[in-house]
């Protein structure tokens, strides 16, 4: 990549020949930011506004009970579960070398690390997924998180992640969606059509 190397030099040179006075990098003070008296409740509320559904439950078995009341779940033929204590899947994604093989998955049940009150987001660590496409390819997605793992806002969220140690991580807030046709909101663009979030103690 010779051309690129010379461009590298010329770009950096062009910047360096024009030194600028720099303002200091501000410190972000999380304690200045809005917090909630009941952050879990806030999360549930916001998740609802972005098209997701939260379920506050006491035992993992209730996940199966809740899902079995959903028609698209009972009709599902291919389910992958990364939370075996909640539900047994019928596809084991770790058996696949090529993620393309997961294309026909109907449901995925996966664990999340923590929830963010202000925006209804769930942080999913790539380490918990044998293939990261598991989060995006199924028709329906269920995430399971402990509701004790809640932060108020994104400042606490990033502080909690600290320094990323995994090659992939994602905040998921609601099912995939688009409003690209005349601003009409449609759930289920390319990723999951619905998102169920189970909040264990």
């Amino acid at each position: 990549m010779n051309a690129s190397t010379s461009s590298r030099r010329s770009m950096l040179d062009r910047i360096r020949t024009r030194p600028l006075d720099s303002n200091p990098l501000p410190t972000v003070n999380p304690s200045r930011m809005t917090t909630y008296s009941d952050p879990v409740q806030k999360f549930v509320e916001i998740l609802g506004t972005v098209g997701g559904q939260a379920h506050i439950i006491d035992r993992p078995e209730q996940i199966g009970e809740t899902l079995n009341a959903i028609e698209v779940f009972t009709n599902a033929r291919r389910i992958a579960s990364l939370v075996p204590e909640a539900i047994q899947g019928d596809v084991d994604p770790s058996c696949f070398d090529d993620p393309h093989g997961l294309a026909s998955l109907d449901w995925v049940v996966a664990p999340g690390e923590f929830i963010v009150a202000e925006n209804g987001a769930i942080w999913v660590d790539g380490r918990s997924l044998p293939h990261r496409v598991l989060l995006f390819i199924p028709q329906y997605l269920a995430l399971v998180v402990s509701r004790s793992q809640v932060v108020n806002h994104m400042h606490e969220a990033y502080a909690r992640i600290g320094t990323p140690t995994t090659n992939f991580g994602v905040f998921v807030s609601g099912p995939s969606k688009t409003a690209d046709i005349e601003q009409s909101l449609v759930l289920g663009a390319h990723g999951c059509r619905t998102l169920q979030v189970f909040l264990l103690p």
């Binding site: 990549m1 051309a3 690129s4 461009s7 590298r8 010329s10 770009m11 950096l12 062009r14 910047i15 360096r16 024009r18 600028l20 720099s22 303002n23 990098l25 501000p26 972000v28 200045r32 809005t34 506004t49 972005v50 993620p99 294309a103 963010v116 202000e118 925006n119 209804g120 989060l135 995006f136 390819i137 994104m154 400042h155 969220a157 990033y158 992640i161 320094t163 990323p164 090659n167 992939f168 991580g169 994602v170 905040f171 998921v172 807030s173 099912p175 995939s176 969606k177 688009t178 409003a179 690209d180 046709i181 005349e182 601003q183 009409s184 449609v186 289920g188 663009a189 390319h190 990723g191």
Partner: protein, 461 residues
């Protein structure tokens, strides 16, 4: 490359005078802005966040070389390959070279204004590669052989019936179908196949973190994630201004971006990539200059590098909403586009800084506090300084200035003008030669100016 001269008033006319199009477009975008207002109101530290965002970006641009090197180092340590492109052509060549090495025939691409700016799609297609834009709005404009008219809502100018017609032709949907749900479902099916066939995934970048060497991509549809988690090669293309120093800085920007852009509390998917997926996979990051280091050297317009491409200034701009994105003839339209485009070619884009009533709404809405309307005003000065204002306008301004420096003459001229307006027949003062009166009446001229009244009623001497 010589660009044609864009005359915004002329380019906007068909859209703004179309009673079916302009009010509809205006309302759709106002709706988005209203959603943004609601979200911003919900965050009591909103103005503080804007201030932080502005300071972080300004600091980054000031120390850009150091942060770029830091980023390169960190990303390389994670196993990513970092490329440097001085301009659009080099960017395109770099991408093509990677694709050639993998003997790629089909790529899937998520939204990236940078690749639009570089004209990557046509370049790759001319080199025999199938390019599929996977963002629904981008796919619509791609199938229609158009360009996006908005940086966040690429197909905002297209009606659902027109999407229906396009999908009928290309995807075989029912003729006359225009239900957004039905059409979105059809696109989902159609693009699923494309995703499965994509050999390389290309994405844009919303933020690149110097400290960790990671990149963040935000989408609602999940198309970027689907596009890069199936194939083994991910190419991420970014302008060098996308850098932020620290991982923690993301907290500020992820709170502002989606709220400003679409009025959502956060994008559905905010994905953090640190290095390639596994030892068999590749992550390429292309750092593109294409005029940015030059813009950085310009103290007047440097702040425009702080832009995080949220599109809020477009949604709020009363001119953009009524004239449509294509009237700007630029990859980035609206207020920020009118600041950026003349930095590329002042002559071609000289009408854009005047396509603005200086209402200042963009400045107040911008999450990184770019003083957009003051920059547009600064552009006007710059254009006049470079002799790019039409002579007729310059002459009338000279004349006005002369008049305003001579109060007696000003009073006499005013009197003559008012008298003429009073005595001349309406058609002589209200005709096509007078732009004011094409749509409006002139004020009814009073017999007496204030200064005359004052002379009669208050002046004792």
């Amino acid at each position: 490359m010589k660009l044609p001269i864009v005359d915004h008033p002329t380019a906007a006319r068909p859209f703004v005078t179309n009673p079916k199009r302009s009010p509809w477009h205006d309302k759709a975008l106002w709706f988005v802005r209203s959603k943004r207002d609601k979200q911003a109101k919900g965050v009591s530290e909103w103005e503080h966040l804007r201030e932080l965002a502005s300071e972080i970006k300004t600091h980054t641009v000031a120390n850009l070389a150091d942060y770029l090197e830091k980023f390169e180092q960190a990303a390389t340590n994670l196993g990513a390959t970092v490329h440097w492109a001085a301009d659009a052509a080099e960017h395109n060549e770099i991408v093509l070279k990677i694709l050639r090495r993998h003997e790629t025939l089909r790529i899937v691409k998520s939204k990236s204004m940078l690749t639009e700016e570089c004209g990557l799609n046509h370049f790759l297609e001319n080199n025999g590669i199938e390019v599929v834009d996977t963002d629904l709005g981008e796919r619509i404009v791609q199938l229609r052989d158009e360009t996006p008219s908005h940086i966040v809502l690429p197909a905002i100018h297209i009606k659902k019936e027109e999407v229906g017609e396009t999908f009928h032709q290309h995807l075989g949907t029912e003729k006359g179908a225009s239900d957004p749900k039905y059409l979105t479902e059809a696109a989902r099916q159609h693009l699923r196949n494309k995703f499965l066939l994509g050999e390389v995934g290309i994405t844009g970048v919303n933020f690149a973190i110097a400290e960790t060497g990671g990149i963040v991509v935000c989408t609602n549809e999940g198309n970027a994630d689907l596009g890069v988690s199936l194939p083994k090669v991910h190419i991420a293309c970014m302008g060098i201004e996308k850098l932020i120093p620290r991982f923690q800085d993301l907290s500020v920007f992820t709170r502002l971006l989606a709220r400003s852009a679409t009025g959502q509390p956060i994008t559905t998917y905010t994905s953090h990539f640190h290095g390639p997926r596994d030892p068999d996979s590749e992550l390429h990051i292309v750092l593109v200059d294409n005029g940015r280091t030059r813009l950085r050297g310009n103290s007047e317009f440097r702040d425009s590098l702080n832009c995080i491409r949220c599109g809020a200034c477009m949604n709020t701009c009363p001119v953009y909403r009524r004239s449509g994105g294509h009237s700007y003839h630029a990859t980035v339209p609206g207020p920020i586009g009118s600041v950026l485009s003349p930095t590329r070619d002042a002559k071609s884009y000289k009408s854009l800084p005047y396509a603005c009533s200086l209402c200042g709404s963009c400045t107040d809405v911008c999450p990184v506090k770019i003083p957009l309307h003051h920059q547009l005003l600064a552009w006007r000065k710059e254009l006049v300084g470079r002799g790019l204002l039409p002579v007729s306008k310059r002459v009338s301004m000279r004349f006005a200035s002369m008049l305003f420096q001579r109060p007696r003459l000003f009073a006499v001229a005013g009197k003559c003008g008012r008298t003429a307006l009073r005595v001349l027949p309406h058609w002589m003062t209200h005709n096509r030669l007078n732009t004011w009166t094409i749509a409006r009446e002139l004020p009814s001229p009073p017999r007496e100016s204030f200064r005359e009244w004052y002379g009669r009623n208050r002046n004792d001497d």
